[in-house]
């Protein structure tokens, strides 16, 4: 079972990287969250009945974990408008990608969950199932979030 789990996570680890980068500001916090999500996925794996897509299951656990782990509010030092002069050698994140995460991090936790699912091309029905809000409300919320994101991106 462990072998299947590790193969599955290896194939879908992009999801966990993206959620970790969106929900945490510092590299250390992102690594901690990544590790916490993998740990929670491993614990939940025996109960995964393949009734949904693997990626949907990973998104559900990953978002739940990112939101459920309480962090004391810290002074946010990574939201400056300036990009670092040197790219992060370890992660090789492009400038465009860093801009995207910077914009997404300005949303609140619920907005982050909804927009990440939207950006991943999930249907309103699937987003409603994962988040627990109604399908109609998903549409309303996403329109507001898109407007908010547009104004964040236009500030750049």
């Amino acid at each position: 079972m462990e072998k299947i789990f590790l193969q599955t996570i290896k194939e879908h680890q992009n999801i966990i990287h993206k959620i970790s980068r969106m929900y945490r500001n510092t590299k250390e916090d992102q690594q901690d969250l990544f590790q916490e999500i993998v740990f929670q996925l491993w614990r939940a794996f025996p109960g995964f009945r393949q009734e949904s897509k693997v990626s949907t299951w990973i998104y559900r656990i990953a978002l739940n974990t990112a939101i459920a782990v309480y962090r004391k509010s810290k002074v946010n030092i990574s939201l400056s408008d300036d990009l670092p002069e040197h790219a992060d050698l370890e992660t090789d994140i492009s400038e465009q990608e860093e801009l995207m995460y910077r914009a997404l991090r300005q949303l609140n936790d619920s907005e982050k969950a909804l927009i990440s699912l939207y950006l991943e091309d999930y249907s309103y029905q699937e987003i409603a199932d994962i988040t627990g809000i109604s399908e109609n409300y998903v549409g309303v919320r996403l329109n507001r979030i898109k407007e908010k994101l547009k104004s964040i991106l236009n500030q750049k």
Binding site: H17, R21, R60, A68, L99, I133
Partner: protein
């Protein structure tokens, strides 16, 4: 960058690749980022309190104190350790319901229950310790002043703990409302 760029950017992002070996390490509880700290704190406290339970009767004149004072001290220490254990299991199992909204609702509910037990066990533990130390001793004015200082310090600690719990519960309540 517009929303469409964001969409393609998101779908192409996250290009790191950890090996199966690295991922396997992350499934082990001893490598868990926050459980390591919680477990260390629990082991240290449990060891010190167990030593206290073994030595207090002779070392702190437990034999000269009333039976109910001794009993209260032992029960309060056990309650305090139980509370630490509950905290450990809660950190290990953040609530994962079928959807995020339900998960948050359960989390608020669980946190409320845990906070009540945690506050109660801390207050009982602190009070029992004070009762044990002050029982059967002759008070002087100096001792009353020291006692007042300890009571104020305890009260401040309880208040700080209460505020922390309230902040945590309010955080998840707000999140639940945001969905």
């Amino acid at each position: 960058m517009n929303i469409d760029d964001l969409k393609s950017g998101w779908q192409n992002a996250g290009g790191q690749s950890l090996t199966e070996k690295e991922l396997e390490m992350m499934t082990k509880i001893q490598n868990h980022p926050s459980l390591k700290k919680v477990r260390l704190k629990f082991i240290i406290e449990a060891t010190l309190l167990t030593i206290l339970l073994f030595v207090y009767y002779d070392g702190f004149d437990g034999a000269e104190k009333p039976f109910y004072v001794n009993m209260l001290l032992v029960v309060s220490i056990l309650m305090y350790l139980t509370n630490n254990l509950i905290g450990y299991f809660f950190t290990k199992n953040p609530v994962n319901a079928v959807n995020i909204k339900q998960s948050l609702a359960r989390q608020v509910d669980t946190l409320k229950k845990i906070s009540v037990f945690s506050m109660l066990s801390s207050i009982i533990y602190g009070s029992s310790l004070l009762l044990f130390l002050t029982s059967e001793i002759a008070f002087t004015q100096r001792k009353y002043i020291i006692l007042a200082g300890i009571v104020i310090a305890f009260a401040l600690l309880f208040y700080y703990s209460f505020i922390n719990w309230q902040r945590k519960i309010a955080h998840f309540k707000l999140l639940e409302e945001e969905f």
